[in-house]
């Protein structure tokens, strides 16, 4: 491989990309706009009522209800349960905001601090319940106490799934469209043939293209992290966030391989675009990019295992938001790399230099 040929081809492809306003918009700006839009939308849509699990019987809640009928229901949505452990697990998963239990005169509140507004409401409401119960008791001294315990909430907040999800979608479409459209255009305008007549290896040409696409994908990663971690969106990056870099690289390879296969069959830029859209758009919905898998219907969760995008998105969520270790990404990376290798082998078999 020649280094000067690699450098100049990379440069040519990079300039071709950054001068293409449409491609630039759809690859970089469009996903960022989605992030800004959905990030802001979901941010303000916190539930008006605080959901609380009543573990066993909590007489203080009954007292508060009888003192002011119907008032409690305006702030709290109460569900009864018997087991504390399952109740705590539910709070941890983010299904409920708090679990409350009464032992004697002590009211024990286990609450999630994932959302500070909700946590604030929980504290205020239960403090006032305890104070009122005290005040209502004989002589104003009921001896009631509040014991608050924080529960670590493992569920993802909107920005935590939106940022990796939309980034995964951006990388998937960037890789697929980049590879497919480059291949088709170069075949149609005979540049592919011109390069075949120059003393440059196919490997050099492919590597230059892969290098440019990976550089663009990493730039997207930086832009997404910069936006998501602003105080407004408030994404807190987990300690192994840097594992997103190898995940992004492997994801780019896998989706470029998909694009290569599309480009090998498509005969025009229009048909390449159509086929790539047909692959990427449903995958964005079924692979957890647009709809977080935690909240998706069971059938989508099942189907998602067949979507390469699922592995890219969940691996990034794990290391960037859930705080999983670097090893957690290994299966996803392996799956993406195997897919890239398998599709590249098929693409090489069906590859055509010329349209005829």
């Amino acid at each position: 491989m020649s280094r000067s040929a690699f450098r100049s081809l990379s440069r040519a492809m990079f300039l071709g990309f950054v001068r293409d306003r449409t491609a630039l918009f759809f690859t970089l700006l469009f996903p960022v706009l989605f992030l800004l839009l959905f990030g802001s939308l979901y941010k303000s849509s916190s539930a008006p009522r605080v959901s609380v699990l009543e573990v066993g019987r909590v007489s203080l809640l009954d007292q508060a209800e009888s003192a002011a009928p119907g008032q409690l229901g305006k702030v709290l949505a109460i569900t009864h349960t018997a087991d504390l452990q399952t109740a705590l697990a539910d709070v941890r998963k983010g299904d409920y905001d708090a679990a409350v239990q009464q032992s004697g005169r002590t009211l024990v509140v286990h609450y999630s601090i994932a959302d500070q507004t909700t946590a604030g409401i929980v504290q205020t409401v239960f403090t006032s319940i305890v104070q009122q119960a005290d005040a209502a008791a004989a002589g104003g001294k009921g001896g009631y106490q509040l014991a608050a315990a924080q529960v670590e909430d493992k569920s993802l907040k909107p920005i935590q799934y939106l940022a990796p999800g939309l980034l995964g979608w951006a990388i998937a479409s960037g890789g697929t469209f980049g590879a497919a459209i480059t291949l088709v255009n170069w075949r149609e305008n005979k540049l592919l043939r011109r390069l075949r007549l120059a003393p440059v290896s196919v490997g050099t040409v492919v590597l230059a293209r892969v290098g440019v696409t990976i550089a663009v994908a990493l730039a997207e990663l930086v832009v997404f992290m910069a936006i998501a971690t602003t105080p407004y969106f408030g994404l807190k990056l987990a300690s192994y966030w840097w594992m997103a870099v190898p995940i992004v690289i492997c994801g780019t390879l896998a989706f470029m391989a998909i694009g290569l296969l599309v480009g090998a069959f498509a005969r025009s830029q229009q048909s390449a675009t159509a086929v790539a859209n047909l692959i990427i758009l449903p995958m964005a919905f079924l692979g957890g990019a647009f709809i977080p898998l935690d909240y998706a219907p069971a059938w989508i969760r099942d189907v998602s295992y067949a979507m390469p995008l699922r592995y890219l998105v969940t691996a990034m969520q794990d290391v960037m938001a859930r705080g999983e270790g670097p090893v957690s990404a290994v299966p996803a990376i392996a799956i993406l790399l195997c897919l890239a290798a398998a599709l590249t082998i098929i693409s090489v078999r069906v590859f055509r230099w010329d349209s005829v």
């Binding site: 000067s4 300039l15 305008n189 007549l197 120059a198 003393p199």
Partner: protein, 316 residues
């Protein structure tokens, strides 16, 4: 020294369609060689086999003493190929295009810039390839084909869709390339182009070479009458008829009338036209009568050779 290109019994079929059918020819070093033929005659396929883009089905083939198939890395730096379409990197300027191609051949930037001015694109160096005019794009494409100073240059219909000015301009460039000692092989369906540029031409149709030789020799071999025209009304019909008959030793009544016969005289009200195999007699006579206003003498052209060989019926 062996020929620059040597082809013997070359064959290539696409399915049941025979594109190249036992073609043989040689091209000498420094020669300007043209392959002529109607669309679909097999010119482009022949060229693509010579360039090493397609595998021949049979026959012997050597380019600069080397086999072009499979892709021959030793041959690639020695040949330059200008393709029919303008094959450029998207959204790169003329200068960026040629520098990119130069680097593929390890040619310094300086030489790339020099090539750009050689084809007269200095003023367009910063213009993106998509915005160049047809002639400018074609010149850039030629500059890219020549940037590594190849010994042998292939051109596939270089003047394809150009206006007359751009064609003439490009011809000068092609002559210059050939005068520098490079062997040039070009395909075209413009007869005038082949006639003015090529040392030898091969006329192809249906995958076969029908005629091969210098354009002038092919035209001479055709034995077509020379057409001499003067302004109408300078000679009366009887005198014209007698003159035509005496020149070609024919009976006077067989030469006048319609212009459809091979030999004779016709008058369309604008020009009086003699078609004769002995132009000297008629020209001397006209000069003697001082009846030379609007004189035009037209010999056969390569186009006549071409049409006689390939037929006149229209092919889609």
């Amino acid at each position: 020294m062996s020929a620059t290109i040597s082809v013997r019994n070359l064959r290539k079929s696409y399915g049941s369609k025979v594109a190249v059918d036992t073609v043989s020819f040689e091209v000498e070093q420094g020669e300007f060689f043209g392959i002529l033929g109607p669309n679909g005659a097999g010119k482009t396929t022949t060229l693509e086999i010579l360039e090493g883009l397609r595998k021949p089905d049979g026959g012997e083939l050597s380019v600069l003493g080397l086999p072009p198939w499979p892709r021959n890395a030793a041959l690639l730096p020695r040949i330059g190929v200008q393709l029919q379409a303008s094959s450029f990197f998207e959204r790169l300027t003329a200068r960026e295009q040629i520098r990119t191609f130069a680097s593929l051949y390890h040619v310094p930037t300086r030489r790339a810039d020099h090539m750009l001015s050689l084809v007269g694109l200095d003023d367009q160096a910063g213009v993106k390839a998509e915005k160049l005019s047809g002639g400018q794009a074609q010149r850039l494409s030629i500059a890219c084909a020549l940037v590594h100073d190849p010994e042998l240059v292939f051109m596939d219909e270089p003047t394809g869709a150009l206006d007359p000015q751009a064609r003439r301009n490009l011809w000068d460039l092609l002559r210059k390339i050939n005068a520098d000692g490079r062997t040039v092989v070009l395909t075209t369906h413009h007869m005038d182009e082949a006639e003015t540029l090529c040392d030898r031409v091969a006329i192809m149709d249906h995958g076969k070479i029908l005629e091969l030789g210098p354009p002038a020799a092919l035209v001479r071999g055709l034995d077509t009458p020379t057409r001499i025209s003067i302004q109408s009304g300078l000679l009366d019909a009887v005198t014209a008829g007698q003159l035509a008959a005496s020149a070609d030793s024919l009976p006077a009544d067989s030469v006048s009338g319609s212009g459809s016969s091979d030999i004779g005289v016709s008058d369309d009200g604008v020009s009086l036209t003699f078609a004769t195999r002995d132009p000297a007699v008629i020209l001397a006579d006209l000069a003697g009568r001082n009846a030379v206003a609007g004189l035009r003498v037209q010999g056969a052209t390569l186009e006549d050779v071409f049409l006689q060989l390939t037929g006149r019926e229209y092919r889609a």
